[in-house]
């Protein structure tokens, strides 16, 4: 006999593990043909905030043949209890041990969760290495933004889903069901069949060879019929895409606990450091009327008092006025507040300000990303200082005293002048505060939040070297010296986390054994400052004979075979090379709304808003 209550009484926040939330899906496991478990490699509070999981959980459960459940990384106190009492990590809905599922799916949102993925496999009593899994073990599949360079995890996953999974995963589950039903299933055969389905990458079907300098010499399919390139999947008609109108509602407070309306996928801006802006192309918008209906029904099913409009750049959504007018016509009386994250300074207007503040408001945040116009042109941010200042003035005039600005240091071609520009821009915003006649009482408070640049796959900067650690620290200090004004709050993180992230983001298969060793050393929750230890990571890399500089600081040639070259994200390599060249020349590229830059994503088809060849 096992008493879950006894376990729950001994851990912090037991509400993380109870399950039984409102709107959770209950099915009879005996009546389905495929049991799927979604694993989120971070805490419950973060996992429950993730829109992707809501989408996939809902779309898989729409299918009567599939039962999709959920599990999250147990906090360390719960892990201790599981290990001490010999209990297997299990699902929320039915308490089924992870090893008893047919398919286990991980969503890979950030590189620093990789150690948690391995730890969860072990706690779920599933062999960590794909090659050691037997016929009775679940098929382990990964997806999400990090799967665009899945190579550091190649040894641990049986398969990766590349691109948008709402339709692809249902197809995947049905291939499994069909092969089981026809008696043709065995693990190898199934994975071979999967590798031929568009949008699925099976690492064990490919062979990598290396040059003497450690770069990749060749990357080839091992068997006939396995494609050399894996093209990402997209949802072609976003209006018809599945939307979770009955999201599972957590009992305990989560990071994002509100209605999240995804208004568009993709981004018309071509910021050269931004991976999300590229991998979610082509740009597809959902129509305001569909969104309004979905918001209403979700409100009726949840009772949330906040609606957040989610996209990479909300103010670029062409139906924004119609949508916000439509929403405000019924949300205002019901005391529902509207939040619009990801606003661009150049399109932030009085009208928008009035709409967001109609019930409740939060701090306004603008991303300037760099301190000088020269560098903003290099990274193709396409925003001017005047626009940032005008946006802040709008906020001040509406009664705000606090605004937050995002910057990054370490961009290619950056000089100390660009660092000084960050401080200058913030000072100009303070001056602007006093220029606003109907400003609120008190002092302005500018939060200057400064991150470190991490070169990411599928960006124009994917070949760039990252600043070495001492250089990052020097720049951070320099900026600190230049910002003595107490009205500016300077936020930054130690740079070493960004370096580890850079290694994992652009690494290849050779990093698998490093991660395996990290598991043996008990490393986990690396996205949490109380657990992350750069010392442990650097020692780990050294002990495994991995040169951090090779992955983080080394500038690649554009003809080098990159670990993620087998993936086609829609945007072509030629486009990235062109963009990189323009960056070095300080030339900008207009947004998709102004002129097509020929990125290539329109090849994927779909009801795109801007792409010339596919426009409705």
């Amino acid at each position: 006999m096992f008493y879950k209550d006894t376990l729950l009484k001994q851990v912090l926040k037991p509400g993380r593990y109870t399950g039984g939330e409102f709107n959770q899906v209950i099915k009879d496991p005996e009546q389905v043909k495929c049991r799927f478990c979604f694993a989120f490699p971070d805490t419950y509070e973060i996992g429950m905030s993730n829109l992707g999981i809501r989408l996939l959980y809902g779309s898989l459960n729409e299918d009567p043949d599939v039962y999709c459940e959920r599990t999250y990384a147990p906090w360390v106190d719960m892990e201790d209890q599981l290990v001490k009492n010999g209990i297997t990590l299990s699902s929320h809905e039915t308490g089924t041990p992870l090893c008893d599922f047919d398919i286990l799916g991980f969503t890979l949102q950030y590189e620093l969760c990789y150690t948690n993925v391995l730890n969860m496999l072990r706690l779920g009593h599933i062999p960590v290495l794909s090659s050691e899994r037997g016929e009775d073990d679940p098929i382990v599949i990964g997806g999400g933004p990090c799967s665009y360079n899945p190579e550091p995890l190649a040894d641990f996953f049986d398969v990766f889903s590349i691109g948008e999974g709402e339709e692809a995963l249902v197809e995947f589950a049905h291939l499994y069901i069909d092969m089981k039903a026809s008696g043709q299933y065995d693990r190898r055969k199934f994975l071979y069949e999967v590798s031929k389905v568009p949008g699925f990458y099976v690492p064990s079907m490919y062979e990598v060879t290396y040059n003497e300098d450690g770069t990749i010499k060749s990357f080839c399919p091992k068997y006939d019929g396995v494609p050399a390139k894996i093209t990402k999947r997209i949802i072609k008609d976003f209006d018809k895409a599945y939307f979770p109108e009955k999201p599972v509602m957590p009992f305990i407070e989560c990071v994002q606990d509100r209605i999240t309306l995804e208004i568009m996928r993709g981004c018309i801006r071509g910021c050269r450091f931004c991976q999300a802006g590229m991998i979610y192309r082509p740009i597809r918008e959902k129509s305001p009327s569909v969104l309004n209906e979905q918001a209403k029904r979700t409100y009726e099913n949840t009772g949330y008092d906040e609606i957040s409009l989610c996209s990479l750049s909300t103010s670029d959504y062409t139906g924004l006025r119609e949508l916000t007018d439509g929403l405000l016509s019924w949300t205002d009386d019901r005391m529902i507040s509207l939040t619009l994250p990801s606003l661009r300074a150049d399109s932030f207007t009085d009208e928008l300000m009035q709409k967001v503040s109609s019930v409740r408001t939060t701090t306004l945040t603008f991303a300037a990303e760099a301190g000088t116009q020269r560098l903003r042109d290099v990274i193709n941010k396409n925003i001017t200082e005047e626009e940032v200042i005008r946006a802040c003035k709008v906020a001040f005039a509406a009664g705000k005293t606090a605004v937050k600005l995002y910057f990054m240091i370490g961009h290619p071609t950056e000089t100390d002048e660009d660092i000084a520009g960050i401080a200058e821009l913030c000072k100009h915003i303070i001056d602007a505060f006093y220029e606003v006649e109907d400003r609120p009482k008190g002092k302005p408070q500018i939060t200057m939040s400064v991150a470190c640049f991490i070169p990411k796959p599928f960006t124009a900067f994917q070949w760039e070297g990252q600043d070495p650690l001492p250089e990052f620290r020097r720049k951070q200090q320099l900026l600190g010296h230049l910002c003595s004004d107490r009205r500016i709050k300077y936020n930054y993180h130690d740079a070493d986390g960004s370096i580890i992230e850079a290694v994992l983001a652009r690494g290849g298969r050779k990093l698998c054994r490093v991660l395996l060793e990290a598991l043996d050393r008990g490393m986990k929750f690396d996205a949490w400052s109380e657990f992350f230890s750069s010392e442990k990571w650097f020692r780990l890399f050294e002990d495994c004979g991995v040169d951090v500089k090779f992955y983080a600081e080394r500038k690649r040639e554009t003809d080098e075979i990159l670990p993620w070259d087998m993936i086609d994200c829609g945007v072509s390599k030629e486009f990235f090379i062109r963009e990189r060249k323009k960056a070095y020349e300080g030339r900008t590229t207009p947004s998709c709304a102004e002129q097509c830059a020929g990125c290539g994503a329109n090849r994927l088809g779909g009801e795109c808003t801007w792409c010339p060849n596919t426009k409705k």
Partner: protein, 228 residues
């Protein structure tokens, strides 16, 4: 026209998964359920208007209850309709048992009745008399407090606990107690369980062998009458 709001008291149960959520989270869960139910209730009048909910002293984390109270102010609806509409919108582990217009105040609650059950292979040796006797002498526990540096202080719970019945059945102990539950003295029943475990020298931490549950069944006025 400003609707006329009247106070409605909801007596509800909190079981299963809901045992493990804090008061703040219960508050959020109730609010969203009320919104879903379509029952119009009064909002607070501050800068950030929020549904106005007043709970009686809530059962502590991990403790089940069939006797929790919540006061709301609703307009143009009968207490029975509030009950039905809310039950349609609540998660299964939260149920409205009764709804009525109250005449009393939560501050008049003095004591609470609990049923404690414990299952453990080591329980067999105890006797009901042993448990009854133990509360006739001081029972000092480490009570949590924010005032001292260690966060706890010694506290004698025996004056505030009445053992009503006690049964031993091989591996199972069932206990009925009344304990103080007023604004001035509130005895968390977990303390009673801890004291008993220590008296019987049993360990209740192994999920493979042991379990204890605490269920709040009733609350009373100072004079011993059922609170309503």
């Amino acid at each position: 026209m400003v609707p006329e709001y009247k106070k409605i008291r909801l007596k509800f149960s909190k079981l299963g998964a809901l045992k493990f959520i804090s008061h703040l989270d219960l508050d959020r869960t109730m609010k969203s359920a009320i919104t879903r139910s379509g029952v119009k209730i009064e909002y607070t009048h501050g800068y950030n208007p929020r549904p106005h909910l007043v709970f009686s002293l809530p059962a502590a984390l991990g403790i089940g209850s069939v006797c929790e109270f919540l006061d709301i102010k609703a307009a143009d609806i009968s207490p029975d309709d509030v009950k039905d509409k809310l039950n349609d919108a609540l998660p299964p582990d939260l149920r409205i048992i009764e709804a009525y217009e109250p005449e009393s105040d939560f501050r008049q609650i003095a004591t609470s009745a609990y049923i404690i059950t414990a299952i453990s292979p080591d329980i067999g040796d105890g006797t009901p008399d042993q448990i009854k006797e133990m509360f006739k002498k001081p029972v000092v526990i480490e009570k949590r407090t924010k005032k001292t540096e260690s966060g706890t202080m010694p506290f004698d719970i025996s004056p505030y606990v009445v053992v009503k019945y006690c049964e031993f059945d091989k591996v199972k102990l069932t206990l009925g107690v009344n304990a103080a539950a007023s604004n001035s003295v509130y005895i968390n029943p977990e303390y009673i369980v801890k004291a008993i475990c220590s008296e019987l020298s049993i360990d209740m931490t192994d999920p493979n062998t042991s379990l204890y549950t605490v269920l709040r069944t009733e609350v009373f006025f100072e004079n011993g009458q059922l609170f309503r």
